[in-house]
């Protein structure tokens, strides 16, 4: 009797242990994904940097990796510039609009208004980015050219940058709204009790109280804008430009990578290896931004939950 009981127990616990290991394996796969990304980027870029000196890549301003012969050059500065410039334009659009939407939904909207407009903002976030690219190229650029009379090239940084901002807007709106909704009601009531008007309560109490979450929203938005591919690929053209001029083509790092992959570049060539050097740069930048965002999100969760 006794022996049987013990045996059943052991068999059971062996099965239970096996299940636990299997489940843990699935969780470990996500770590392996990161390791896979890092290993790929490092090994392939080291091939690239065997051919092109690191200093040339990061310091020179002539960028023509796909050109043939002597005119081929690998100074990444213009590409970095266009990436950051397009991101800045996008954030210029997305930060005021996104925060405005976030504040309205968190602080002003009645529950009924919120149930209507929150899904609409989520819908905006759910539309594939290629659709935004098509819209920028075939609707928004002609609109800027014809209705506003701006002298734009067909592929330009202005249209791509603004639409990139619209793309990032829902990220900023929903993360900042979450942060503000987590601010305890008692803080608002205290401020009202001291005679503050609604806008004062929002701007001087709720926003500062939710600041770490709002910073996280902005950083996540920046990370999305830096890494976005197709909008820029479709709307802003195929070469970066070291200029403030937005009427001409600009290309960001992600769009460059996609463009090389689409072009017939033979695997193993230096031009092809550029994908990985640029990819490493892009991954490093977004990685730092993501860690900063994760840290800030954690901070506001700790304070109020």
């Amino acid at each position: 009797m006794d022996g049987e009981l013990v045996r059943t127990r052991t068999r059971r616990s062996v099965g239970e242990q096996a299940i636990k290991v299997l489940l843990a394996g699935a969780a470990v796969l996500s770590v392996l994904t990161t390791i896979g990304i890092v290993v790929t980027l490092i090994t392939e870029s080291s091939k690239f940097f065997g051919e092109v000196p690191v200093a040339d890549f990061f310091l020179r301003t002539d960028w023509a990796p796909l050109a043939g012969g002597a005119s081929q050059s690998f100074g990444v500065v213009p590409l970095l510039w266009s990436t950051l410039y397009l991101t800045a334009i996008a954030l210029l659009v997305a930060i005021p609009l996104g925060l405005g939407v976030g504040i309205y939904l968190a602080e002003y909207a009645s529950p009924r208004v919120r149930t209507i407009f929150k899904p609409i903002v989520e819908l905006l976030a759910g539309i594939p980015t290629i659709v935004f690219g098509y819209f920028a190229l075939t609707f928004f650029t002609p609109l800027l050219q014809d209705q506003l009379g701006i002298d734009l090239q067909v592929f330009n940084g202005l249209s791509g940058g603004i639409i990139l901002g619209i793309l990032v807007l829902p990220t900023i709106a929903s993360v900042s709204e979450d942060a503000m909704s987590a601010v305890p009601q008692s803080l608002r009531e205290g401020a009202f009790g001291l005679g503050a008007a609604k806008w004062q309560v929002v701007l001087r109490v709720v926003v500062p109280a939710a600041l770490s979450g709002i910073v996280a929203a902005l950083v996540l938005g920046a990370s999305r804008a830096i890494g976005e591919t197709v909008v820029i690929l479709v709307a802003s053209g195929n070469n970066p430009n070291l200029t403030f001029d937005l009427t001409v083509a600009h290309q960001n790092m992600a769009a460059f990578i996609a463009n090389v992959a689409r072009a017939d570049v033979s695997a193993g060539s230096v031009a092809y290896a550029t994908i990985f050097a640029v990819g490493t740069t892009l991954f490093a930048m977004t990685f730092v931004l993501n860690l900063v965002a994760i840290r800030f999100v954690r901070r506001y969760r700790q304070v109020y939950e």
Binding site: K20, G98, L124, I130, Y134, F192
Partner: protein
């Protein structure tokens, strides 16, 4: 009670200073303007795409292969079939793996251990890695690299490689949403099952997972709708726009976003507008998926 008091205090304050009242109105108007601009962009985008695209939707458009010569005969069949294949294969990968990881993190993992915290931060970070970087991973690791989808691809782009790449891309979404669904199942349910002599796994399988099913299904559908809308990773793993046969799992493939990208880049307007047709089809597929998600949530959501 507290709310009523707030409303009263607010009235008193507002009466006391009329300057603050004007500022309040201005601030509110500015916020509404932001919301208006966002909704306006969405509305104009949808209407613009619908005006261009809806007239193109005919049975021929859905079942014809693409044509470089005759826009009126050109169709999106390989792209549509490719997208549906990708969706099914991707689901077959992310459902077991994503749910298993979520169960581990919620039910087994001790959050004070450094390795479990590492997994957690890692998943949060993976959720915001640019999709083109997953494309690089897919290209170097799955299409050409050590995994090579069990030799099926033999170094060339295959549908299976595309589906796996998209799966890795959206896995964090499945894990994060499934964890929330599992966390929403109250501890008393688990305690009841354990007290009746169920093992930990029996408790999870028979009590926790059924309770979290609606939430998990919603997460999976969300993830799949993100996957089939992605373009960049498919460019990298080598999806092509012009295919004149139906895709196979171990062969070259097309997908709707790739067809849209190709058409949008067409210099000839009569071909460029085909992109709008493909966009309408893609948006309809996404709409159907999200309707299913909403239905599942309303029909099966557990109220504890």
């Amino acid at each position: 009670m507290a709310v009523a008091e707030t409303a009263v205090t607010r009235k008193v304050v507002e009466r006391a200073s009329s300057g603050a009242r004007t500022k309040d109105l201005l601030f509110r108007a500015a916020l509404l303007l932001c919301l208006f601009v966002a909704v306006l962009f969405l509305g104009v985008l949808l209407v613009d795409v619908a005006i261009d695209g809806v007239p193109l939707i005919t049975p021929d458009f859905l079942t014809n292969f693409p044509s470089r010569l005759f826009p009126e005969q050109s169709g999106i069949r390989p792209a549509l079939v490719g997208t549906l294949y990708l969706m099914v294969l991707c689901a077959a990968f992310i459902v077991p793996v994503g749910v298993a990881a979520a169960v581990y993190l919620e039910e087994y993992a001790d959050p004070s251990r450094w390795y479990n915290r590492l997994v957690e931060v890692n998943i949060q970070n993976l959720a915001s890695v640019p999709s083109v970087v997953y494309g690089i991973l897919g290209l170097a690791f799955i299409v050409r690299g050590p995994i090579d989808v069990w030799g099926l691809g033999r170094g060339s782009p295959t549908l299976l490689a595309g589906a796996l790449t998209l799966g890795l891309l959206v896995l964090p979404v499945v894990i994060i949403v499934s964890r929330e669904a599992i966390r929403a199942v109250p501890p008393s349910i688990r305690e009841g099952a354990l007290a009746l002599g169920a093992t930990k796994w029996q408790t999870i399988w028979k009590m926790v997972l059924p309770g979290a099913l609606a939430g998990i299904a919603t997460g999976v559908i969300l993830a799949l709708s993100r996957a089939i809308g992605e373009t960049a990773p498919l460019i990298l793993v080598g999806a092509i726009a012009f295919r004149l046969t139906d895709p196979t799992i171990d062969g070259q493939f097309s997908a709707l976003p790739i067809a849209i990208l190709q058409a949008a880049g067409e210099p000839r307007p009569e071909f460029q507008v085909l992109a709008a047709g493909a966009i309408v089809v893609l948006l309809v597929v996404l709409l159907l998926m999200n309707s299913v998600a909403i239905y599942l949530r309303n029909r099966y959501e557990q109220k504890w």
